[in-house]
């Protein structure tokens, strides 16, 4: 517990202040949405996801300066690549607000398109030649090149098809893994997460031992897929299993910071206390990730040591940023609700009676609001307690086993009685019908 910085207070205060000492602790600078450093953020990623993330931020942001900043960076990034389709979209979104330097560059588009046309033809010819010669490895390479080409030009569906086609020509397990990684990458970009799951499992089944970086990448991909499928617990497990070797090797999909955030939040929402301790806090692998995002580390520690107010505050501050995350934004509300409910349940668990005023203080909310939340949890049977709304106290409720058993027995008896009676009646009716039919036959 965090009792050492308030040694002067009497013991009793400390107990009552369970979870309410957030204010006394030193405040760390917490980044908030307005200060989101887009440049630093974008620096974490590479490839197509960088552009997509920037565009996503631009879409979600109401602040025009940040919005334009994001668009400007996206523009620059696209210019480095060959995706003219995306380029046109961005230019349309910028709408001339960034001056003539960021206007429509028709000449660039045309030259890129022309080159693409030529390259496609060349690849086509090459592939046809390989196919007539029936050289497996070359055909694989040919399809692979096609996949890369389509991917660079933003034709994800075609890219996926090409990558998958290489599968028939894979000869070593290394090839298979390469194929799986490419397919996973494209599927994530397309948002086709069921594909991701299947290709991850395919890659994991490879007979040869995988190198640690690939393993880490696969874990991340599986985690993302589970997150999108709302299987938060599985997602948390996958992210927690991700090895520190990941580094920035997978920045075309996910940054290490994201692993910490996604994994931390999912774990907080779904794990129980023991699991949280053993799998998150004591997990030396994952600690490396958490170091990258101190806010998440702090809030997990706060949650575990029952400083709910400070934990919830961290969460509140993080929220705006998380809503700008391309993968997490849909799940933020659900995860937050889960975390809050778990905090409430954990808070009430050890007590026979809880003063609602204290509790509301600890959760930085009003008594009335807390009452509503508790009511929902009690109705859901997640907390066994009843609220004394007059004195604002929550009393734990211990079910009387004996009475409950009697009640259940009598109820079961009545149910049995009813069922058997109606069954006898039905069987007689059926018998009757059968007899009628038999008579008719005679």
């Amino acid at each position: 517990m965090d009792g050492d910085d308030e040694t002067s207070g009497p013991m009793i205060d400390e107990i009552y202040a369970n979870g309410d000492d957030g204010d006394k602790r030193s405040r760390r600078a917490i980044m908030s949405a307005d200060h989101l450093d887009i440049e630093a953020y974008a620096g974490l990623y590479g490839g197509r996801t960088k552009i997509m993330r920037l565009l996503f931020i631009a879409d979600k942001m109401n602040n025009p300066t940040t919005q334009l900043e994001a668009l400007r960076m996206a523009y620059d990034e696209i210019k480095k690549g060959e995706n003219t389709q995306l380029f046109r979209e961005v230019v349309q979104k910028i709408d001339g607000r960034l001056g003539p330097a960021y206007a429509m560059d028709t000449a660039w588009c045309e030259s890129v398109d022309r080159r693409a046309e030529q390259k496609k033809e060349k690849l086509d010819n090459e592939l046809n030649a390989y196919r007539t010669n029936l050289i497996k490895e070359s055909i694989r390479m040919g399809y692979n090149d096609f996949g890369d080409f389509y991917y660079a030009h933003g034709q994800l569906g075609e890219a996926f098809k090409s990558y998958v086609r290489t599968r028939d020509y894979c000869t070593t397990s290394k090839h298979i893994i390469h194929m799986c990684m490419s397919a996973i990458l494209v599927s994530i970009e397309m948002g086709q997460f069921p594909h991701v799951t299947s290709y991850v499992s395919k890659a994991e089944q490879a007979p040869e031992a995988l190198d640690p970086i690939t393993v880490a990448k696969l874990r991340c991909a599986a985690g993302l897929a589970n997150l999108e499928a709302k299987k938060y617990k599985l997602a948390a497990r996958k992210f927690l299993e991700t090895g520190p070797e990941l580094g920035c090797h997978y920045n075309e999909v996910i940054a290490s910071q994201d692993v910490a955030t996604y994994g931390g939040l999912c774990a907080l929402a779904t794990f129980d206390r023991a699991e949280l301790k053993s799998k998150v806090i004591d997990n030396s692998n994952f600690r490396n990730f958490l170091e990258l995002v101190p806010e998440v580390r702090e809030l997990i520690n706060d949650f575990y040591s029952s400083h709910y107010a400070s934990c919830l505050e961290y969460l509140g501050n993080l929220k705006a940023n998380l809503l700008l995350d391309i993968h997490l934004h849909d799940h933020v509300e659900t995860l937050y609700d889960h975390i809050r409910h778990k905090a409430l349940i954990q808070y009430t668990h050890p007590f026979v009676s809880v003063d609602l005023n204290m509790m509301a203080n600890a959760f930085k909310t009003t008594v009335a609001g807390l009452e509503k939340e508790l009511e929902a949890l009690i109705t859901d049977n997640q907390i066994q307690a009843r609220i004394d709304s007059h004195n604002k106290i929550l009393y734990a409720r211990h079910a009387d086993q004996r009475n409950a058993t009697f009640q259940r027995v009598l109820e079961t008896g009545r149910g049995f009685d009813r069922d058997v009676r109606s069954m006898l009646l039905r069987s007689n009716l059926i018998k009757h019908e059968y007899n009628v039919r038999a008579l008719r036959k005679l």
Partner: protein, 423 residues
């Protein structure tokens, strides 16, 4: 000698010993047609017979004489005769010709309805039903007629006395359908919702090859009663109900299904709005009263839910959460529910707080032990019945021949497998 005179003499002569009565029955059956052709001349003959001694003959002649359509004034004359006959007749004799007896009773029902005095038929019909019944487990066609008269005469209590018997033996499915449907309505009238639910459940889940109007109407009421009693309703019927019912019943009761859905959301205002817009449909089915009870049950349900979460709650808060207009109204609701034993609570009027208590039943009293004991006895009796029934079925020729035929096919397969292995 006039054939009718002769018949009367025979009736008078052959009504003492059982064997004589059987002979008389054959004679009467033979002369049934001639009786019908002479229906106008029959009434005076009845005065020569004693209904308690010559029940069978009296029955035949009565049946023939009342066969034609009757006017109101005639009915005025006939009803007392039939009533007297039902009261006096001997059960052994009339059971020889149940179909005659039933048709006479049905005519009695028609006539009291014609006279718009259904209550005049209740008592005789009850006597008739008991006389016709071999055992209390037997459902006669008169059951449904009796319950209908009870409903029309609003003598619900009398109806309940019959509904207390457990019925197992049924001749005509239609009788059962009507019996359960009317019975359900009587129980609803008496607010025995669980019993009503059971009866209606029997209708809905009964084996049927085609959908029928009784089942549809019963299903509508079943839904409403289920909402009142349990506060929820699932549209899926149990597996043992007929496939026709599972597939089609819902489609006939769309407004009710939507009502149940709206109830499920727990929002009073929504439910009330829905009821208001669809009041005509419910009125048309004459279920509007029941629908209104559903609405008011929602208040109760919501208050009951509060007892699970709160120890004390102010009347104002209750009114707010349950969406009642004033604390006063909330107090009335809570009071009513305490009175009905639906919740355990005390109201403190001084500061307007309600204190919810736990169920005070400790399962320690003598009455409770007796209740439990009687329940055990009941279940044991039921289980014995089940065993006998099982034995009966396993000795049933039809069943055995059917089961045997299927068994053979399996045996053939069993026989087939080892052969393959031998090769």
């Amino acid at each position: 000698m006039d054939p009718l005179e002769a018949l009367v003499t025979q009736i008078q002569g052959l009504s003492s010993t059982p064997s004589d009565v059987t002979r008389l029955h054959t004679i009467l059956k033979q002369s049934d047609d001639s009786l019908r052709s002479d229906s106008t001349r029959l009434s005076p003959l009845l005065s020569q017979l004693d209904p308690s001694l010559h029940s069978l003959g009296f029955l035949f002649i009565l049946d023939a004489s009342t066969a034609g359509p009757v006017s109101k004034t005639q009915a005025e004359n006939v009803v007392p005769i039939v009533t007297r006959f039902i009261g006096a007749c001997s059960a052994e004799q009339i059971r020889l010709a149940p179909e005659k007896f039933i048709s006479v009773c049905k005519r009695l029902k028609d006539q009291v309805l014609l006279l718009e005095a259904p209550i005049r038929g209740v008592a005789p019909m009850f006597t008739a039903l008991r006389k016709l019944q071999v055992s209390t487990e037997h459902l006669t066609p008169l059951h449904s007629e009796f319950l209908l008269l009870c409903l029309l005469a609003k003598c619900y209590k009398t109806g309940l006395s019959v509904l207390d018997d457990d019925v197992f033996e049924v001749d005509q499915p239609r009788d059962l359908f009507l019996y359960c449907y009317y019975g359900g309505m009587i129980c609803i009238g008496q607010k025995c919702f669980q019993k009503a639910l059971d009866l209606l459940h029997n209708v809905v889940t009964a084996p049927m090859s085609t959908i029928n109007a009784i089942a549809v109407e019963a299903y509508k009421k079943y839904m409403l009663v289920s909402l009142i009693r349990h506060g929820q309703f699932s549209t899926s019927l149990p597996k043992y109900s007929s496939s026709v019912a599972q597939r089609n019943l819902k489609n006939f009761c769309q407004p009710y299904v939507e009502l149940a859905n709206s109830y499920g959301t727990g929002k009073i205002a929504e439910l009330e709005a829905y009821v208001k817009t669809n009041a005509e449909k419910f009125e048309f089915d004459s279920n509007l009263g029941l629908v209104k009870q559903v609405v008011s049950s929602m208040y109760k349900r919501n208050i009951q839910r509060l007892t699970q979460t709160y120890l004390t709650l102010s009347l104002q808060d209750i009114a707010n959460t349950v969406q009642l207009n004033s604390p006063k109204e909330a107090e009335m609701h809570v009071l009513q529910m305490i009175q009905d034993g639906e919740i355990y609570a005390t109201i403190n009027q001084k500061d307007g707080m309600v204190r919810f208590l736990e169920d005070p039943e400790q399962y320690k009293t003598c009455e409770m032990i007796e209740h439990i004991d009687s329940s055990i006895q009941r279940i044991m009796a039921l289980s014995r019945k089940l065993t006998t029934m099982d034995e009966q079925i396993s000795c049933d020729q039809l069943y055995l021949s059917k089961a045997g035929r299927e068994r053979q096919r399996y045996d053939f397969d069993d026989f087939d497998v080892p052969q393959k292995f031998n090769i």
